[in-house]
Amino acid sequence: MARKNGQELLLDVRDLAIEVVTRNGPARIVDGISLTVEKGETLGVVGESGCGKSLTMLSLLGLLPNKISVIGGSATFKGRDLLAMSHKELRKVRGGEIGFVFQDPMTSLNPVVRIGQQVMEPLLYHRNMGRAEARKRAGELLKLVGIPGAEERLDNYPHELSGGMRQRVMIAIGLACDPALLIADEPTTALDVTIQAQIVDIVKELRAKLGMSIVWITHDLALIAGLVDRVVVLYAGSVVEDAPVDELYENPAHPYTRGLLASIPRLKDEGAEKLSSIGGTPPEPGRRPAGCPFAPRCPIARAECERAVPALEPVKGEGAHRVACFAAGEIAEAVA
């Protein structure tokens, strides 16, 4: 499934499968996810809570928790398979060529270490900088992410910063070694809209300045609309739609994506009395239906959907917009 414009792929994840060991035996959490990131591209990964967004990204860096393991697939980053690397090699990549911003800024910073030290850590380890040089660079990084009085802040402890500032420190750590790829896992979920807007702006600026690729994980379709180039929609551990951002918002092809977009109240249109919503709840891992994972909630499900899993295929024969749904063709026609 080579990309049409032939851009160089920075990250190429194929058929990634992750399992967890539970009391009822192993359960698939991630079931054959494939996604790609081009050089300089910003990819949005959206999906409901528990659909496997975080674990997918953690698996790339060998950071999966106990009892959860990768059982298949590959993840090629700059020509090397991340999933086949030894711990030692992975450590070199982590925080070096791939920067990571964790979901929860409150617990991912070490509360008893000054933030300056925490920003310096990857510089000391990956760049072999001296302490003085690393400290200077750490100050610059904090300024880069827009922390006022950056140099003085180096000696603060995490609890002395506000939530938004802590999140910016996390971003500074992710950026410390000029990564080729920045993976940000719901970096703004815990923050207010005004602070959220600040952080999105900072990331946009940095992207323009540093030219890196970004994977931005979120469940907020509105937040990433102006930020990303392409969106991958996950549902229950698999990719259900993968499309350029404008195409996805204008012509969503998967019933889940359509439902998701329709259930967001818009500021622009005056409150329609009733929001359209998707009934039911996403299936838990281990209880997923045999056919299309969305079938129990899908308003247009048919007999076929409960038997077979639809493959991720291009809509209307083009390469860029792909969807996993038996009814995709009809939806596209109905819209057109």
Binding site: P65, S277, G279, G280, P283, R287, R297
Partner: protein
């Protein structure tokens, strides 16, 4: 909308699980804890059915067969008075369990009452209870028991004797009762503080849980909230502490009996058997080994079970 919302729910009916069942599942995964549980159940069985299990009376002396090494007739050998060591160890188990359970029960009860009140009402009451707890904890345990023993035992013994003379009821002749009431009563009096602290801390944390606030918002009254929302949720860690506490109480009992201020001969206890065995261990190591092994096995089992329960009751602490 509602029927649509539950389309999927209706298809799959899941087995109703509950917290205790989940905890039991997690406990079963922990091999150490499970082994410990089996050992403890076996020991408890021995303690309960001891009198029917012992091959000999623990007091019957066979002066011809003294200090016998282990053999078919006496699997753990005999002691210096020719008593069967296995029988005595079995009775010692009985003593250990009775003491551990009664001491822990009294201590836990004191702890729950003081801790729950201190935690829920706070303020001056809390401060007083905590001061009292700290005071009790700061007194060396051994010293306290010795003092209680020395000052209360003679008058109590005299009173028992007087009762006996009046009623001729043989129960007053039983010195074991004095041991139990006095020594183990005092042990309970020194071991309650950790329970009180634990219960207080639990109540303090549960008291501020959102579901307690939610219950207050429903307009429920304080006693209802304490009984139905706070106590059941504060119980988990207490169960853990009690399990570990049973082991500690056994060690304490043995320590006191070893020093001669606990269970007194001829009533067997692991502690006084260890004391007896220690005097002659060079010549007859089995006299020391048998009770010491029992004590070690029991306390290790209780402590592993306590750890296991701690993990099992705390779903988040799996890592």
């Amino acid at each position: 909308m509602s029927d649509m919302a539950l389309k999927q729910e209706d298809v799959r009916e899941e087995p109703p699980a509950n917290l205790w069942r989940d905890a039991w599942y997690r406990l079963k995964q922990n091999r150490m804890a499970l082994t410990s549980l089996v050992i403890i159940l076996a020991l408890a069985f021995i303690a309960v059915f001891g009198p029917w299990l012992t091959p000999y009376d623990f007091l019957s002396q066979d002066l011809i067969a003294r200090n016998q090494p282990p053999a078919w007739a006496h699997p753990f050998g005999t002691d210096e008075l020719g008593r069967d060591v296995l029988s005595r160890v079995i009775y010692g188990t009985r003593t250990a369990f009775i003491v551990a359970i009664s001491v822990t029960a009294v201590a836990t009860l004191i702890g729950i009452v003081l801790g729950a009140f201190a935690g829920y009402f706070g303020g001056l009451l809390d401060r007083f209870v905590m001061w009292f707890t700290d005071m009790t904890m700061s007194v060396p345990q051994l010293l306290l028991v010795v003092v209680i023993n020395a000052s209360l035992k003679p008058p109590l013994a005299r009173w028992m004797e007087a009762q006996y003379l009046e009623t001729l009821n043989p129960i007053y002749r039983n010195s074991i009762i004095i041991d139990f009431v006095l020594v183990f009563g005092s042990m309970a009096l020194i071991t309650w503080p950790p329970y009180a602290r634990l219960v207080r801390a639990q109540v303090l944390s549960v008291r501020n849980r959102p579901y307690v606030t939610a219950a207050r918002a429903l307009g429920l009254s304080t006693p209802v909230i304490i009984a139905r929302y706070i106590v059941p949720n504060a119980l988990g860690p207490l169960i853990v502490a009690v399990s570990a506490g049973l082991g500690t109480a056994m060690v304490l009992e043995s320590a006191f009996s070893f020093l001669g201020i606990g269970v007194n001969p001829p009533m067997p206890s692991w502690g006084n058997m260890i004391a007896d065995g220690l005097r002659v261990w060079r010549n007859y190591p089995h006299l020391l080994l048998a009770p010491a092994m029992m004590l070690a096995v029991a306390t290790v089992a209780f402590s592993f079970l306590g750890d296991g329960l701690n993990d099992a009751l705390n779903p988040r602490g799996q890592k």
